[in-house]
């Protein structure tokens, strides 16, 4: 490891690796550090991404694709199911391999990648950034750099050092748990969602096929001090009820901010990306490709900043603009949509799902859906329809 770089990226998840790769491709000297001893492990995610979206970042490769799915269903707590017409084709990833492949692509582009190396603080001169303090396999090592990109995840420390850390309100924080189950008897061509507050309070369940009779079965619940059951408790109940013959091959847990992005994602010499910047979708908490876009945009601005010799927040703020242009309006809408959906009582959700599932037309028109919603939950007109219609 050298003592001087243009850019140091903290964290080799998808957002960090894309940032490092993009900077390296532009000819910058880049160091990508990962605190864990293995990139991609432990996995912390449901692993579903849009096929076309991910293909913008990395050539599709069978070795990190566990399943390809283009059907979705929504099931109520009374086991009525709506089948949706195909949307964008979704890939269920093998994150361990996927993350490592992305880091590999950063290295191939010229970035230096190291594991078992954690950041311990930023080196500042006044408000300006001069470098980063690292602990490399237990040995302190100071590195000079012009820009730090913080991709250190939900538990990010770099955002705090940069003065940007915002603690999300608990209602805007998902607590999530997932099993990789085997011996699951399910249609491997459908991604299932289950909705019902008695199953997942203010959250939802996902069942994503992973091929070979396995599936990621997980749930996210909004954090609530009044809630006595943990995400894992809820998951155990769901699995006991729905997958009695299954065995558990692995367990994943984690927290996900769904508060929409940090009010500020940049400081002098610093940009936050991915979960560190709260870039997960504020409704589903999906964050893989969103974080990769964050990494891409941050890197594009970092490259410009180094070329112009201006790494001030004023310059780096262009990154926030790039983000907002692509995701801002959608995220504000999804944030409000989640709040509106979570206000609907469970019996209303059950009743709506039952009626939609009983329609003769397999692909009901808006007018039919409207009628059911209006009858069951007139408030929906005020809360949800403007959002669904994109107003």
């Amino acid at each position: 490891m050298k003592t001087e770089y243009d850019v140091v990226v903290i964290g080799a998840g998808p957002a960090g690796s894309v940032a490092a790769k993009t900077c390296a491709q532009a000819g910058l000297r880049v160091l990508l550090v990962e605190k864990r001893q293995e990139i991609g492990s432990p996995v912390r995610c449901a692993e579903a991404v849009g096929k076309e979206t991910v293909a913008e970042f990395i050539p599709l490769d069978a070795k990190w694709i566990a399943a390809e799915v283009d059907h979705f269903s929504l099931t109520s707590s009374q086991n009525d199911t709506i089948h949706f017409p195909p949307l964008e084709t979704t890939l269920v990833l093998e994150r361990k391999i996927f993350d490592r492949e992305l880091a590999h692509s950063a290295a191939k582009a010229g970035a230096e990648v190291v594991v078992k190396t954690r950041a311990a603080g930023l080196i500042k001169n006044g408000s300006g950034l001069e470098g980063v303090k690292l602990i490399v396999q237990g040995v302190p090592h100071e590195v000079r750099c012009k820009i730090v990109i913080g991709a250190d995840g939900t538990e990010a420390q770099s955002t705090r050092w940069a003065g940007l850390k915002a603690v999300p309100p608990l209602k805007d924080y998902y607590s999530a748990a997932q099993y990789l189950l085997t011996n699951v008897n399910l249609d491997q061509t459908v991604c299932q969602y289950h909705l019902g507050w008695s199953i997942a309070p203010a959250g939802y369940v996902w069942v994503f096929p992973k091929g070979n009779n396995t599936a990621n079965v997980g749930l996210a619940i909004a954090t609530d001090p009044k809630q006595t059951r943990s995400a894992m408790d809820c998951l155990n109940d769901f699995v006991a009820k729905n997958f009695q013959q299954s065995s558990i091959l692995s367990q994943v847990v984690g927290g996900i901010p769904i508060s929409n992005v940090l009010p500020e994602m940049t400081a002098d010499g610093y940009l936050a990306v991915g979960d560190a910047a709260h870039q997960s979708d504020p409704m589903t908490a999906g964050g893989i490709t969103n974080g990769m876009y964050g990494g891409l945009f941050a890197a594009q601005v970092a490259v410009d900043a180094v070329r112009h010799g201006d790494t001030s927040r004023k310059f780096l703020k262009q990154y926030e603009k790039l983000w907002d242009d692509k995701f801002g309006a959608d995220y504000r809408r999804l944030y409000r949509l989640r709040q509106a959906i979570f206000k609907i009582p469970e019996e209303k959700i059950n009743s709506i799902i039952r009626q939609v599932s009983q329609l003769d037309d397999p692909q009901p028109g808006m007018a039919q859906l409207f009628k059911i919603f209006l009858k069951e939950y007139p408030l929906l007109m005020i809360d949800i329809m403007p959002l669904v219609l994109g107003k």
């Binding site: 912390r44 954090t223 894992m232």
Partner: protein, 71 residues
């Protein structure tokens, strides 16, 4: 002269059940004073800076965190 008495709740600790903790860091993100230290398979809560706000307890996906009970 009387000595200031610390309120009981301030002296209680947030306890970590290490048989449940998965070291995922979900608690770290919701901790306002940043008093939770996570290194690989080590999770420590600094009792000096912890304000006992208890936000970490429901955020934990495995229910590994509890507030110490009074005897």
């Amino acid at each position: 002269m009387s000595t200031p008495v610390e309120s009981t709740v301030q002296t209680l600790l947030i306890l970590v059940d290490y048989d449940r903790c998965s070291y995922c860091g979900a608690c770290v993100a919701v901790c306002p004073p940043d008093c939770i230290i996570l290194h690989d398979a080590t999770l420590l809560i600094d009792p000096e800076t912890c304000t006992r706000c208890r936000r970490c307890i429901p955020a934990c996906p495995t229910g590994a965190l509890t507030l110490e009970e009074t005897a």
